[in-house]
Symmetry: D2
């Protein structure tokens, strides 16, 4: 598990006065990117190696709103890492109080430049090795 801190921008709020719900999906992406970077295998390395890792599913449960200039701590858990897929779980908390704001999930596959499915065991074993060490549940 790794934690990502994020402070809310004005343009991310809506007329309800809180962060628009679609932006949590973007926060998850940022948090996942930071996770990969901290684990030593940034997403841009994957892209340089010719692999894309699109999102194939995403979900978010909203518990309490987040407001302008509040800082959230997003705990990112890598919960699945196989040669064909991976999955993350997210917990968004108020950075000060630790109170839960939202939880979420995302799933990803691996594609080559032609959009074909990639077996990471064959093409990027270092990727699998790096992230299996981070994974909290069995593949």
């Amino acid at each position: 598990m790794r934690t990502y801190l994020r402070t809310v921008n004005y343009y991310e709020t809506d007329k309800m006065g809180v962060v628009h719900h679609s932006n949590y999906i973007r926060y998850f992406e940022e948090a996942r990117t930071a996770f990969m970077e901290q684990a030593g295998y940034p997403y841009e390395r994957l892209e340089r190696e010719g692999i894309m890792s699109p999102v194939i599913a995403v979900s978010c449960d909203y518990k309490k709103p987040v407001r302008y200039r509040e800082t959230v701590a997003i705990d990112v858990h890598l919960v699945k890492m196989t040669k064909f897929r991976c999955a993350f779980r997210y917990e968004v908390r108020d950075a000060g109080s630790g109170e839960l704001r939202a939880t979420g999930t995302s799933q990803h596959c691996y594609l080559d430049g032609q959009g074909g499915i990639v077996n990471m065991e064959k093409t990027n074993p270092a990727f699998l090795e790096t992230f299996r060490a981070e994974c909290e549940e069995e593949p």
Copy 2:
């Protein structure tokens, strides 16, 4: 079920050359807004009546990417409508071929101006009546 047509904007694509996954959540909101308007009870009427209806959960499953200037037809199904909550289901298809691109869900509650939970049977019976007539599954 009601259908919403949407053509992809340039600013909604990402460097993969397709619509960024977070934007589907925004398309769902647009489609839901059109649904309510067509059903005769637009969301802005609810707001004028002092009710907010925040998203409490959202999900999306991505099947095939959507590209710049493609038009999708989003089928919006109201699948739950109770005095405390409602839920929608979405199917995103290529408007030309009908091929499935994504599916999704959203859940909503009702709040008053102070953030308190609202019982729509007491405060907005016309809202319940309008949308129960649209609902495809039993409350």
Copy 3:
């Protein structure tokens, strides 16, 4: 001059209760895209022909806010069309009353796939011809 109609989405508002100022730049892009399509030379044709037309300058003056579900009529004027550059001017009005909400400008150049400057007189004369007929000021 061609006019583009646009209704404001919830996710485009901010906690001031109005459309966030950055979204006007996106509305201009949508209006420009519709302009090109209506003129008979859609932007995606340009891209298929291997030309990109990035924005090199943009500006917006905000007169009055625009709110959720309001519809604006954006008048798009092509005010410059040369072999190396083009420029647009925008007027955003309330679609009902005609009252001015904002004005703006954008400038664009033409690049090939390697990022090199393109002389459209040599590579895409049909493009120049189409849009010179739309241009309101002398090149």
Copy 4:
């Protein structure tokens, strides 16, 4: 002058493979927010005091594209600070090489809760004092 560092997110890129031009306007807002916070008078304090400071004009000139995961250093210059208005100038550079990527401007006024123009000399003299000390040009 104060400098704000910002790393590009995936969702901020477009199908040209670079940061979409509208996002620079959002980066300016972030940079301005950081400027105010560092100067000791954060924007949220202004809001708590019942003042809004909407953008009345914005511009951006794009020199060179910025790509995914690149970090830019945005120099924020407060160039005008009067009782009715203020103006900022921005220089966006590659954080590593210092190479210029874009320049921009924004202008702002002050409004009360009813949308009336506010004379900051009367209502918020501490605001004027704080930012006049930051201002690089004569009011």
